[in-house]
Symmetry: C2
Subunit: 486 residues, 2 copies
């Protein structure tokens, strides 16, 4: 990197002075978010363990937050541990109060903050439950104090609920947006704001289910993460139900499902009366929120989002993604079948997913590379360089790849890859692939050079005798199955 | 594709006979899941609109379900619309009852199904609320009837709650697993099973928030999808709170947060008493569920999952993903700054995310292609082939790319790309890129050939005068900035 380039990145970071009072999970999360977005932070926490705890949160944040973006974050700000609240908030633009949820304690901390910070500073409390009016008791500059309630992990999750004076909230919104967060203005103050009220409702219901031996924590979590949790990561509850209601609309959905609310399903039965007025209100707000999409459009947006989320989880082999990976193994079997065909080695057979396309409305060039990488993986398994072989410390790395893009490819297209071994020579293995549409028309060609490696030493080495023999056998059978490339 | 290959794919599909009674959103979803997994389906629905409705669900399913997998699904089964329940269930292995939520109606449908289907068939109700014992009333073969409660969209979401006779449930589990679904055995029958009890709790709380003018449907949805919805798509509620509780563990978490449950936060206040017994039960179940991971491991799993989910949403430019894309634009600015450097054209500067790595524990070869594709995008914007230009119907397509892999790259690595224009000749544009680590060591090189295209005709054409001029200017400045490749 040239220094001039570093400099232009630095100017991106708004050099705001942040102060954090209390270095627990939430305080540490704020510290990490501020620092990694390029700002300087002063923190006060009397706990001698605070530096260690903050450091642990920071190390998690450093390995994850930058990975959300396609471009580098500004250079990290500097962190100072100070010995008092007054030292921390002196000259600050923003103060995050993150002390335990005890109103008396919060009052004394707020008084200390206000008597030492600039009049222009925004003072925020991370409280999950208290209202700004409670936090402001005894203050002679109450408008300065607002609630900015973040969600764990603060360095990754975008949501911050803002409650309090509108002028201060508007300034806080701009600040949080510049940190990559999503500020949500809670317009009327209420105990526990919005999200925690919803969370408490589920938490209570969950405790009842465990208490009554209906389900375990694992079963409840599975009921969430293999089902509606996937929906809520993208549309929340009302937009999801709008789609479920179909063309008949939201009012119809409520009319249909409303009565269930009065059935004796849960322990907690105080239900708002479903007057026409309330139904119209919900339906009207839903129109305002999503009315610019037809139900069919919303269905497809929902489906594409769900696919992208689940495909993301596939890369981590977790939850719904682990389930999909397991299922994929069965689908892959026909391609691994030694008797699949006498004329060509089919190494990939799949549909192009929507998350592989780019602004030109076709499959991104890099995803052709993915298809050919997957094709090579099938060859690997066929020649015995499989999971067990890799676990034994041996594998193949690609060292050269040349792709010729012949035709465009769109989301939903069925494609397959025919592969052959064009060279097998000791550590070296050359593969030639043709990616075709269902009619056999060639869409792209690739030449790959792979080298056999020792995974421990990360250096090239000879393959096992068995792998060499299987490569030679396969090369004999499929050496000329795909058309000559170049 | 050769026909022998088709055949081996077909054998994968279990040729189970499915019958669906009722073709609404849920019935249609079952039909789609069965058909696309290769099975034959008979459906009965007296509504003359049923074929149209089913066809709409099917068309959504066809464009989405196959995209979840890296391999082709088996050939689609065949769908028959029949004129009676008896015709539908004759010879069936599995019957899905999807009629409206009226117990009387369900009783008469169940009786009709049972008198015509094989004794060995599994009869499932998709009911959201009724218990198997209610559905079985009046049946002389009650064990045959179970609840199999799926979630919309049935063709994508994995969860199915199974309630009823354990032998029948076990057979149903195997069947659903073979359809790519996640069967969850609800061990004790209860109104609304597990997930809908949690959903009802949130729905009620949401209606109160709207009724009391605290929040709109949009605000509630945002509070979910920018916050805990992202958490719940991967770990659910209890595992998430276990991580939040930190090293002190789940019992500590409950002890700390339990009292809040009794605060006057919500309209619904019946809370299970937090006896030591209940706390131990929850903590013990949580140990059982997640105790094989340390908290630090769980934090990192959670973070990697959240990143993968949000990066998935980036590809759809939706919700948290849209927010990240907006933020990325600001981060990209330094690279688009015309005065960024006099010596080299830096086109990419980023961190490698965890979802870009593969089984060799390094960045997958195709992601090098992604980095170089992004590098080309930066050049495009610099020469004026930007968003507006693309909207005007002109763009560049990559037609050839040659990558040399020199060094491995791991998740978390900081990299940059230095690019130059190696050829600018009418429609043709050649770019040469070097991907380097922070110390300037070259990790990979790429030669890309791009051709200017008319996006309407999808054919090559000449670029605009302005773009040509800017390319030439850039070529003069940076023509030799990266080392000569090959």
């Amino acid at each position: 990197m040239t220094s001039s380039n570093h400099k232009s990145t630095e100017t991106l970071a708004k050099k705001i002075q942040f102060a954090v009072i209390g270095g627990g999970v939430i305080g540490g999360g704020w510290v990490a978010r501020f620092l990694l977005m390029g700002s300087d932070v002063k923190i006060f926490d009397p706990d001698p363990e605070a530096p260690r705890k903050i450091d642990e949160v920071l190390s998690n944040a450093r390995r994850s937050l930058p990975a959300l973006y396609e471009h580098a974050l500004p250079p990290e700000g500097s962190l100072s541990f100070v010995n008092s609240i007054s030292e921390a908030v002196d000259g600050s633009d923003w103060v995050s109060e993150c002390v335990p949820e005890q109103l008396k304690l919060k009052h004394s901390v707020m008084a200390e903050i206000q008597s030492h910070c600039p009049k222009s500073a925004i003072i925020t409390s991370s409280t999950s439950g208290f209202k700004p009016s409670e936090l402001q008791q005894g203050s002679d500059n109450p408008e300065q104090i607002i609630v900015a309630h973040p969600f764990n992990p603060v360095y990754l999750l975008p949501l911050v609920e803002l409650v309090g004076n509108i002028t201060t909230v508007d300034r806080a919104k701009a600040m949080l947006t510049s940190l990559g967060m999503f500020p949500l203005h809670v317009r009327k103050e209420i105990d526990a704001h919005i999200a925690d009220r919803l969370l408490e409702a589920v938490w209570r219901e969950g405790l009842w289910l465990i208490n009554d031996d209906i389900a375990t924590t694992q079963e409840i979590d599975d009921a969430i993460r293999f089902g509606f949790g996937l929906r809520w990561a993208q549309m929340g509850m009302f937009e999801t139900y709008r789609v479920a209601g179909g063309e008949a609309g939201m009012a119809h959905f409520i009319a249909q499902f409303g009565p269930c609310l009065e059935w004796p399903w849960t322990k907690l039965m105080d239900v708002p009366e479903l007057t026409d007025e309330l139904i119209d209100k919900v339906a009207g707000q839903s129109d305002e929120q999503s009315g610019h999409y037809s139900i069919r459009e919303l269905e497809r947006l929902r489906d594409d989002n769900l696919i992208s989320i689940m495909r993301g989880l596939k890369t981590q082999n977790w939850g719904a993604g682990e389930l999909l990976n397991q299922f994929d193994k069965g689908l892959h079997k026909p391609l691994l079948d030694k008797n699949q065909s006498n004329t060509s080695l089919i190494t990939v057979k799949r549909v192009i997913p929507a998350d592989w396309t780019d602004y030109n409305q076709h499959m991104n060039e890099s995803r052709y590379g993915q298809v050919f990488s997957d094709a090579a993986d099938t060859v690997m398994i066929r020649v015995g360089a499989d999971e067990d072989y890799i676990a034994s410390g041996l594998s193949y790395f690609t060292v050269d790849c040349h792709i010729k893009y012949i035709e465009e490819c769109k989301a939903g297209d069925d494609i397959y890859v025919a592969s052959r071994i064009s060279l097998a020579e000791g550590k070296k293995l050359k593969l030639a692939h043709q990616m075709c549409n269902v009619d056999g028309r060639v869409l792209a060609e690739a030449d790959q050079l792979l080298v056999h490696v020792d995974l421990q030493a990360r250096k090239s080495c000879m393959p096992s005798e068995e792998v060499l023999q299987r490569i030679n056998k396969l090369a004999k059978q499929y050496g000329n199955s795909a058309g000559e490339i170049k």
